[in-house]
């Protein structure tokens, strides 16, 4: 079976293992939080639950970057922008949910608009009181921006470092724009003081656990989706574009269409990650657009290992766990540690941690070969339709 379908991507071994570990861990955390009293040593605090949820959002973001960077060779240094846009779309919904419970008690306008003496809701805030509309915007806004941006960039054959620079400029420009109060997204302070999501209080433990489960499920679905994409012929074309773009063009593929396709899908995934992130951390501000965030994201993927999908997830979780520990112990050294990590990985582990493990594994197998070795090299697997 060569070409994956969405269904077969579910049942392949990597996806099964991935989903098993992810959903299993989520289930354990849920049970430990819900069924053990706070004074029990087995109890997992709501703080930890939210922290894990945050890691999984980052993992989803890293997955989306791996899709464009690992598989298509597009090093986007602006993926944080799509994450933040998804986050803002969710934040707008959460703001509208506050209603008259805000400081100023205005049933229609969010606090910061009252503070700015605005008399009515701007047109682009209309509709965000409906969850379905917000959900649609979470997908549409990052997707549309990526589509327009990618269409312009890929059509003009902007590649390599130039593309990285303009993606970086994109996220920087958005950050400056969102800092402005006049834009109507809360300026410097962003959107915060959220009360509830779909009627569930964001402060309650069960909502936090629910958000963790939702994030884990989204990550699992996104992983299967990415396995499907990369296992299909589309995935092979995209990798061909990465390795030999002009050859792919001479073979007859419109490489800019493929890049645009994968870039847009990736941006949508990043937007979903942002939307799941905001209710868990309780705030979205223009800092999320900062170029530094997008660069950190690249480090996660590089540390985990490119073009494996699970490598990006592992990298995101490990580096962020490291960040949590490190910033607790000696916060001022974190950026140096991150920089050092990136240099070390680039120099010593071009394949990332996943590459290191599989290398060691291969070396071990060479040293201690399993009994039945000689029949798995020449198995013709293709063409046998199930």
């Amino acid at each position: 079976m060569r070409d994956s379908t969405f269904k077969s991507a579910f049942s392949d071994r990597t996806a099964k293992t991935f989903m098993g570990v992810l959903l299993g861990a989520t289930l354990v955390v849920t049970l430990l939080n819900q069924f053990f009293p706070p004074d029990s040593s087995l109890h997992v605090s709501a703080y930890t639950v939210t922290l894990l949820g945050k890691y999984l959002c980052y993992a989803l973001l890293a997955l989306s970057l791996d899709l464009v960077w690992g598989y298509c060779g597009i090093l986007s240094l602006g993926h944080g922008a799509f994450f933040a846009l998804g986050g803002y779309a969710m934040g707008m919904y959460l703001m509208r949910q506050i209603g008259d419970r805000g400081v100023y008690g205005n049933p229609e306008l969010p606090d910061f608009m009252v503070f700015l003496n605005w008399s009515e809701l701007p047109w682009y805030w209309q509709g965000f009181d409906q969850f379905w509309f917000a959900a649609l915007m979470i997908l549409l806004v990052p997707g549309l921006l990526a589509f327009v941006f990618g269409w312009l960039a890929f059509r003009s054959r902007v590649t390599g470092v130039y593309l990285s620079i303009i993606t970086q400029a994109l996220t920087y420009a958005l950050m400056l724009a969102f800092f402005r109060n006049e834009l109507g997204f809360g300026g410097n302070n962003g959107l915060t003081d959220f009360k509830e999501l779909l009627g569930f209080s964001l402060q309650s433990d069960s909502t936090r656990v629910g958000l963790l489960i939702a994030t884990a499920l989204s990550l699992a679905m996104a992983f299967v989706l990415c396995r499907w994409i990369t296992g299909s012929k589309l995935g092979r074309v995209v990798m061909a574009v990465r390795d030999a773009e002009s050859r792919a063009r001479f073979v007859g593929y419109r490489t800019e269409h493929y890049k645009l396709w994968i870039f847009t899908v990736s941006a949508i995934l990043a937007g979903i990650a942002g939307a799941l992130y905001v209710p868990q951390v309780g705030i979205i501000n223009p800092g999320e657009f900062s170029p530094l965030n997008s660069i950190e994201l690249v480090v996660w993927v590089a540390v985990g290992g490119r073009a494996t999908l699970y490598g990006a997830v592992i990298g995101a979780i490990l580096v962020n766990y490291g960040k949590t520990v490190f910033t607790g112990v000696m916060p001022e050294a974190w950026l140096f540690a991150l920089g050092g990590l990136f240099v070390a990985v680039t120099v010593f582990l071009p394949q990332g941690l996943v590459g290191l493990v599989s290398q060691r594994w291969a070396a071990l197998r060479k040293q201690f070969p399993p009994k039945n070795t000689n029949n798995d090299t020449l198995t013709p697997a293709e063409g046998e339709a199930p």
Binding site: R2, D3, T5, I229, S232, K233, L234, R236, V237, M239, A240, D243, A244, S246, R247, A248, R249, F250, V251, G252, Y253, R254, H257, Y258, W261, T377, L378, E382, G383, A385
Partner: protein
Amino acid sequence: MSALDNLRDTFRRDQVFDFMRQGTRAVAPGQLDSGSGKNILYLEDITVSFDGFKALNDLTLYIQTGELRCIIGPNGAGKSTMMDVITGKTRPDSGTCFFGQTLDLTAMSETDIAMAGIGRKFQKPTVFPEHTAFENLELAMNGPRGPWHSLFTRLSGEQTSWIEDTLATVGLLEDRHKVAGLLSHGQKQWLEIGMVLMQKPQLLLVDEPIAGMTRQEVERTGELLKSLAGKHSVVVVEHDMEFIRSIASTVTVLHQGSVLAEGTMEQVQNDPKVIEVYLGE
């Protein structure tokens, strides 16, 4: 200006002298029509200059349907530039380049030209190094090229056997699951020829197919190219005179961007102009 446009329209290649083409099938603009002429490729008065240097200078060349044509010429004679013009990589400063009767190659993109049926094997073998030989051919396979189609498509049994037949033709059936980057130089050349074949081209452009090959590989390549002529039109650019002698029916000698001589290998070899600039040195 519009009068000129009208005049051009009247003299469109597929409409001129319509009465002479009775009984031939009508061709919609944008479709290849090679049936009504004996040539498949028309290069007329092509000039290409790079910073004043004329890489091609009023080049006029016709390729017949189904023939195997060898193009030779000293370095800088314009062989590769000619290939670039045909495949749309380089736009000529002046001149016309028609594929069949109707397709103006100077107005088409590289992708459109490839889809219209011109396949090119590059001088330096360029395959997709991280894909297996099988996957390389699969990617090159003729068919719809859109991203959505690629996402949902699955290989049919027919397509699989077509790919395997082509692998057998280029002698790579054994190595079909090997990553292309690990193939030997000669194997990469063949794989690339296989990829061009999978595009079902009418016209094959083959740039220096035997560079870096062993004696046996050269022989096999010669056989392969000869077997392809007839079904396809094949244009081979090569330096190796012995190889050309072994495969060529018609030879064209390029010199300083235009055609110096054309004919059988014998004729060309005995042409005093050719001896002077190329063979006699």
